[in-house]
């Protein structure tokens, strides 16, 4: 594989006793759209600030386009940033905000005028060129912030939760717009979000971050269907868990003893290992006869429009979530029903160490 366009190796950063980034490695290809997905406080903004040069890592290296930039000041990095609160210049108009970077780089007057017009057009803000920043809505400010960052033609765009302040409808519209704009311009982008749907719909690849580490870097499909860690399983999408112990392992197929019965799943564990089994709710069907099957008690039916969620209680207390298009006919809370799913959809993880969180 050719060397990555952006290559972060072993980036660590602590504030006092708190380690906020703990040896992050991340390689991004040219033109790629990567999402950093993780809970609040996991170090996403810190990682972006290190890439942008607004903070230096304690250890580790950042290489952009074959040049090491770890200690290069931000104004010589050619990296555009869209800040979480947009950080537009309140003393300048919309057009002057977009022109700022070009002026700072001493571009010619005609070039500035043409470029500003082009990017205002791209974000559909041409009509607002002479407005004051204060007279813009959140979504409009967000567009200006994107145009301002793109106008200087950065090698890389960093976007820190740019849509978090917008309502859902506007957010979805902006997601589509942003993808279109970035595709037209052909910029490599890292997009920070803690909204899993946003990450799944927009990204070429997703980096799931947790406690200052990248837990998994993969395509949205892989992240969803093959989460590498229990945290990734939990954080992206809904899932159910059952605890069990591996009793046999044969040609990469495990037999696992759980309180609900024996289940089979692909994987490699030594017999005797305690494990956690994860299943996506839409992979489970009500009815007997699947590769893996258990009996469970229906405790609740939650109508969600296009789908219904069925909550089951497995023997020995485990909860199981099933998503179906409609509730099974005649089913009522209290009924004991068979549930089944494929072996290939059964995810197996080592059980968390005693006392440790998943």
């Amino acid at each position: 594989m050719n060397p990555a366009f952006l290559d972060i190796t072993g980036a660590s950063r602590s504030f006092g006793a708190a380690t906020v980034l703990d040896g992050v490695d991340l390689a991004v290809g040219k033109g790629e759209f990567i999402s950093l997905l993780g809970p609040s406080g996991c170090g996403k903004t810190t990682l972006l600030r290190i890439v942008a040069g607004l903070m230096t890592p304690d250890t580790g290296r950042v290489v952009l386009d074959t040049h090491e930039i770890t200690r290069k000041p931000p104004h010589r990095r050619d990296i555009g940033v869209v800040f979480q609160n947009y950080a537009l210049f309140p003393h300048l108009s919309v057009a002057e905000n977009v022109a700022f970077g070009l002026k700072a780089r001493g571009a010619a007057r005609e070039t500035i005028a043409l470029t500003v017009a082009r990017y205002l057009g791209l974000v559909q803000m041409t009509a607002f060129a002479d407005r004051s920043i204060k007279a813009l809505s959140g979504g409009q400010q967000q567009r200006v912030a994107v145009a301002r960052a793109l106008a200087v033609g950065p090698k890389l765009m960093l976007l820190d939760e740019p849509f978090s302040a917008l309502d859902r409808k506007l957010r979805e519209a902006m997601q589509i717009d942003l993808k279109r704009i970035l595709r037209e311009v052909g910029t490599t982008a890292i997009f920070v979000t803690h909204d899993q749907d946003e990450a799944l719909t927009m990204s070429d690849r997703i980096a799931v971050m947790y406690r200052g580490r990248i837990e998994q870097l993969d395509t949205p499909t892989q992240i969803y269907h093959r989460p590498a860690t229990p945290f990734a399983l939990d954080f992206v999408g809904l899932s159910s868990r059952l605890a069990g112990t591996v009793v046999a392992s044969h040609e990469r197929m495990l037999t696992i003893e759980t309180a609900a019965g024996r289940l089979c799943a692909p994987g490699q564990f030594i017999p005797g290992s305690p494990v956690v089994i994860g299943i996506r709710p839409e992979r489970v069907t009500v009815g007997a006869g699947g590769e893996n099957s258990i009996e469970a008690t229906l405790i609740d039916i939650v109508f969600q429009g296009a789908r219904v969620q069925l909550h089951f209680e497995a023997p020995a207390g485990g909860r199981l979530l099933v998503e179906a298009h409609e509730a099974p006919s005649g089913a009522a809370p209290g009924a004991s029903l068979p549930l089944s799913w494929r072996q290939a959809d059964t995810l197996v993880y080592p059980a968390p160490a005693e006392g440790g969180a998943a």
Binding site: A87, A104, V152
Partner: protein
């Protein structure tokens, strides 16, 4: 702008201040203005004042020394305000104490202290001769340079505090955003920090200029009678020359000067505030 004009009850909150200022400040001011006009015949006092070349020297002294003091305060005060706004915890507390505590020392005491510092055998002279910058000890006392140095020291808090209070509210991400757009630190300073703190700068200039233009004790003690400003001339006219008409005329000219500065600066800062 709205065309309907309704009385806003909030305005009543200003009533005590308005009443107080009318009695203790507005009325005496009217008497003063009346005195300057009535005397020997209407505006002739002003005509006489402006016809006298000495008046122009006094006016020049006033404006020049006040402008120099303001400039020195701005050059020293702006970076201090910048540090103060960015600093936190102990550094910030230390700077604030260093700025505010001296305000509790009377201006007469400070002016006397400057007399000692600026003498031919004072600290400044000793340091400069010691460093070889001056060939022989020099006296800064009784010079305009000494006056500007001493007055700037006394007025600099009034430059720092308004700038600081504006800078403190400026989002530090704006500077970072400018940096990621390719702006060098110098460009950021002139195109982001300065424009965003302009309202504070203007207020600081208005404060310091009007205080420096009307200072009386400091020039009296640091430079003496040979250097007359509108304020010292007003004092002399009333106290020594018993020329009430001259005194009230110079007082009114001084008042007009400072009102002009304050009004112009508040206009300017409102206009910039509207644009921002």
């Amino acid at each position: 702008m709205s065309t309907t004009r309704r009385f806003d009850p909030i305005l009543l909150l200003a009533a005590p201040a308005v009443a107080y200022l009318t009695v203790v400040y507005g009325l005496p001011l009217l008497f003063l203005l009346g005195r300057s006009l009535l005397g020997t015949g209407g505006f002739s006092a002003f005509a006489g004042f402006f016809a006298d070349p000495f008046s122009w020297i006094v006016l020049g002294n006033t404006v020049r020394s006040a402008a120099l003091v303001t400039l020195v305060c701005l050059v020293i005060g702006y970076p201090t305000a910048l540090v103060l706004a960015r600093a936190g915890g102990f550094v910030q507390a230390a700077i604030l104490v260093a700025i505010i505590l001296p305000l509790s020392v009377g201006v007469v005491v400070k002016a006397f202290a400057w007399q000692i510092v600026l003498r031919r055998d004072g600290v400044v002279s000793q340091i400069f001769t010691g460093l070889g910058i001056w060939d022989e000890p020099q006296r800064l006392l009784f010079t305009e340079t000494g006056l500007v140095i001493g007055a700037a020291n006394i007025f600099v808090p009034f430059m720092i505090l308004p700038i600081y209070s504006v800078l403190k509210l400026v989002d530090p991400r704006l500077g970072e955003a400018a940096a990621t757009l390719g702006a060098s630190p110098v460009y950021r300073f002139f195109k982001v920090a300065i424009p965003l703190s302009l309202p504070g700068i203007i207020t600081g200039i208005a404060f310091v200029f009007s205080m420096a233009a009307s200072m009386y004790v400091i020039p009296s003690l640091v430079i003496g009678d040979r250097f007359q400003t509108l304020a010292t001339l007003t004092g002399r006219s009333f106290l020594f020359m018993r020329n009430e008409q001259l005194g009230s005329t110079t007082a009114v000219v001084l008042l007009a000067l400072t009102i002009g500065i304050v009004v112009a600066s508040s206009r300017l800062s409102r206009r910039l505030g509207g644009a921002a």
